[in-house]
Symmetry: D2
Subunit: 332 residues, 4 copies
């Protein structure tokens, strides 16, 4: 198969490298308007073919896959043209700038019997796969809350706020891990440097008694990438900044204790054993490419398909409405 | 001076110990309905006098100070009686269950020229004092956000939710550190085990472009006590779980960089030096007692007086209204 | 029973507190030459009886137990007199300044049918008990090495070097955990501030293919209290600075791998799962006092008896000889 | 200039990548006996020329630089031939298997006016450069001890023990940072899996009152890369496992205090402020290549030249003698 990568910014080179290294891929065309980026790609990946013409790629019958790694607001147009020209598409997260666009693209892909892969990379991360295994196995019991923190001193996007930039990772994990259906969101935050929020908090309510919260921040002096999945049986912490022991499962819960016991409970807050399962360290993006190619060959939906992408976009859309009104509850 | 401690639950013994060890205090009377607690106090502090009669204490002209460490909803009544009987009062946080009660007690104390000390212990903590010093010195520049996390596997209160239980610590620190005036709050959370929320998120908006957020949780498998004070010049992290280096000041900020530079910024997220000032390790409660006694002798308001207590209660009250309506913005 | 504590320095008050709180103990006499220390004890523990006369204690028939918490070089004389006067003895670590003295005291105690308890407190620590359980259960397989680090910015002793001050803790744990017999030692280090080494490294060789190493330092800017027990099946880390998760058991070992595999092994250095068993948090000293009193009542040797104390002293003695000659191997 | 890399094992590809990416280098020839490795290099670096003939490289007049990344015991022969054929040489650490060989190579290079670069990569690491700056500036005062730990679950070398494998990194840093002259060594350790030690401790004595110790281990369940440089003014910790804050400088020292004060000193072990300077994150190997090429163009000795390599080999040689005799002091 032949793939073309559109947009060679921060993430583009990783896409090029992983498509190049996949045995199923004969060649990779790299496309960007910025000559400097094309030059850089050419130096790093002499095997790649470079071009600045997207229309040329669309016309090229030999191209099976178009990988879209451009700014969010261009996803819809580029994706639509690719589908109309009979290409399977890989779209960076978030899938689209509007849920209507996502719905339209899903219909279009179905019509032409093409696949949409949304790059929710974390779904192919060894730690996240392990969390899924554990929850499916009932190890945690019923999940009562999902808490995610993704903050660091990061790059300011110039077209979206910090929720649209960082939360898709965590929202896609949430939607992968939790069975419950999100019904409403409330978002708060602040924009200190531009019209886009650089600090934000997103609460998600579900149709059962589950609650999820997402803290994202571009202006944190420390880098934190931590997720707590609270079950009524056990609780799990996923700390992506840990070199090893990324996942810790705590055999801890709520103690109903005597008056005296209660005072102890306060000091001794960890009740049971903890264990940290080994996690597969294969690069997630590599497995994502495999899954996409497999879905095409087997003519089935990939794990992170358009519908999954749409779910995330719907929440992002609602968060915009809520944060503008300082936490107002917005139903999904 | 003579002090009487009412309520010998989890915190009571710490109060007894610190009043006993203060040179200004001649004797300490300890009062509780629970004989088991009185016995325990008697064993631990043979020097203390024990009783189960609050009325006796009120009548006792030799008692100068009444320390109220009972459940929140009893604070108002006990405090009122103490003031009416000419006693200075020390009240555990949160000051009262309703802001009206706090306002009434403040008036009453003024009328009788008595002092109210609200036990916002953290204001006397060496690390918090250091944060105050640094902010007053302008070390951080303008504060753009205040983020606090206080979660662990803790004791469920049976009369208040996790915000009323844990957030007063952090709200009192916020109000001590920030000059800005809080104007509205939005709260989200969930109650998994009782009618009281065990997980909650509280956003506070200010009259300037500052934003504060408080994450409190009784059902976290890990204990986190971290506060980030984001300034436009430097940023500070206060991690109370650290044995040393509780405070770290990061000479970090937002980089306006070139296209290429931006990609780097993403990987190299820490920009400047960091330093960790030495922190005074004297027990905060010990310094709190000193401050209270000094305020009485010098006939001045203590640092953590009734008005400070009222500020926190107002926010807690608003949070109740907001969390019931899933994040609805409530003006203060 | 009645106990007398001799020496009320840094550790003395902890001994007084734990003997006072033990139900079997009717009263505790506290003895020191320094009036300031007697005063302090009197304030902290009004129930304790204070005196500056050791001879008085020896003559007092009602005293069953003498607790010796004085400088090492005084242990032998005080212990001998106590035994000669029919008292059971509790001696702080290290047991004696010379192994000959320890041997003599052991004989003397046997002759008078009295008990010697050497305060190897860590043997009663919940984490150490758990390590013992795991090793006895064969969880780690055969132990191939034992590595201990105990460094911080600590107090300089004026009569002993850092090995005599800090290593007894770890040597007693080693001797509790390992079945193998130590046969020789090699010690290196440096004395920067006095004639006593403030940095030292002690290697211990055993009669089987096991090896132990102890790193002690009074002049480290960071406090480290970590022990690694390397088994050929699993490996264990005991980090006493951790608030929770003090013990971690790693299902890790040595991989025999292909040429290619080897390169991976270098990057992926953690092979299996890890788990952290819950640890009993009862104060070790409290359990030590219980064990000592039980050994007296049941007329049996306590777990940390004179012979255990002697083992440690023999290694310390050899370390002195070795460190003077910069690592020369000294047989035990 | 034209470079040839001999030996494409674990480290080889990093060398190829860094020589390829250097502007001064026209082309890079890659040589190995193992076709699998040549194939891998060819795939990863299409621009590189591959061959299995070292003699061909030696004959090739256009080759200026020979980079030797083969097993230690082959360094001498390959290096000698390269120098005899007029090539500048880059040799992986440790420089040679015997100090006599190193001395001979140094003479040979001088005779032919060629440069020897020994790949002590860490000398070009941003953190190590910063430590050098701080020590040269007298920030730490006089250095009293140097303590290094480099342990993990690593690859067993089949021709050398863990000291020869891991310690060269730390010995080269020591020799870069310390002015003092090493005069003798004492080494202890154990070989559990082969005839080569997998756990080892190396003590180095200096001509002044400085002491250095190196702990290396291939069989540790946890990965530790920490160095403590103890000065009589300040102390520095370099923790290479930290994502940020790799260097911490502690304004801590030894307190001469009163009897009472001493007891405090024990609990409050950190005395002054700490700060963590920002560290340059450029890849060390990249800077190493730059330095080597500059030394050739400017006809001067590179920073990590043959004499530096020899210093490390001498200590390694002595460590072999000492460890065989369980810590016997060996003069350098």
């Amino acid at each position: 198969m032949k793939a073309a990568v559109i947009g060679l910014g921060y993430w583009g080179p990783n896409l090029v490298r992983n498509f190049l290294s996949n045995g199923e891929i004969k060649s990779v065309i790299c496309c960007d308007n910025n000559p400097a980026r094309l030059k850089l790609i050419n130096e790093k990946f002499p095997a790649a073919i470079i071009t600045n013409s997207y229309s040329g790629i669309l016309k090229d019958k030999s191209v099976d896959i178009v990988v879209i790694a451009t700014p969010v607001d261009t996803h819809y147009q580029l994706a639509k043209e690719a589908l109309q020209n009979g290409k399977h598409i890989w779209v960076e997260k978030p899938f689209t700038a509007k849920s209507k666009q996502a719905e339209e693209l899903i219909k279009l892909a179905d019509k032409h019997d093409l696949k949409i892969f949304v790059d929710h990379t974390f779904i192919y991360n060894g730690a996240v796969k392990k969390i899924k295994e554990l929850t499916v196995a009932g190890e945690l019991g019923d999940i009562i809350y999902f808490d995610s923190v993704r903050v660091n001193l990061g790059l300011f996007q110039h077209d979206i706020n910090v929720i649209w930039d960082l939360a898709p990772h965590d929202l896609s994990i949430m939607s992968y891990i939790l069975d419950a259906k999100p019904i409403a969101v409330s978002a708060n935050g602040i924009a200190n440097y531009s019209k886009y929020e650089n600090v934000a908090h997103l609460s998600v309510y579900f149709d059962n008694n589950t609650f999820a919260h997402f803290h994202v921040n571009w202006t944190s002096p420390v880098k934190i990438r931590r997720m707590i999945v609270g079950g009524n049986k056990k609780m799990l912490v996923f700390d992506d900044m840990e070199n090893s022991e990324k996942i810790k499962v705590y055999d801890s819960g709520v103690e109903i204790t005597t008056q005296e016991g209660i005072y102890d409970a306060l000091v001794q807050y960890r009740i049971g054993d903890m264990y940290s399962p080994k996690v597969n360290q294969t690069e997630a993006l590599n497995l994502g490419v495999k899954e996409f190619l497999a879905s095409i060959k087997e003519d089935r939906q990939p794990l992170t398909n358009g519908v999954e992408g749409l779910k995330v976009v719907k929440i992002l859309e609602a968060s915009d409405e809520s944060i503008k009104r300082k936490g107002k509850l917005i139903s999904l």
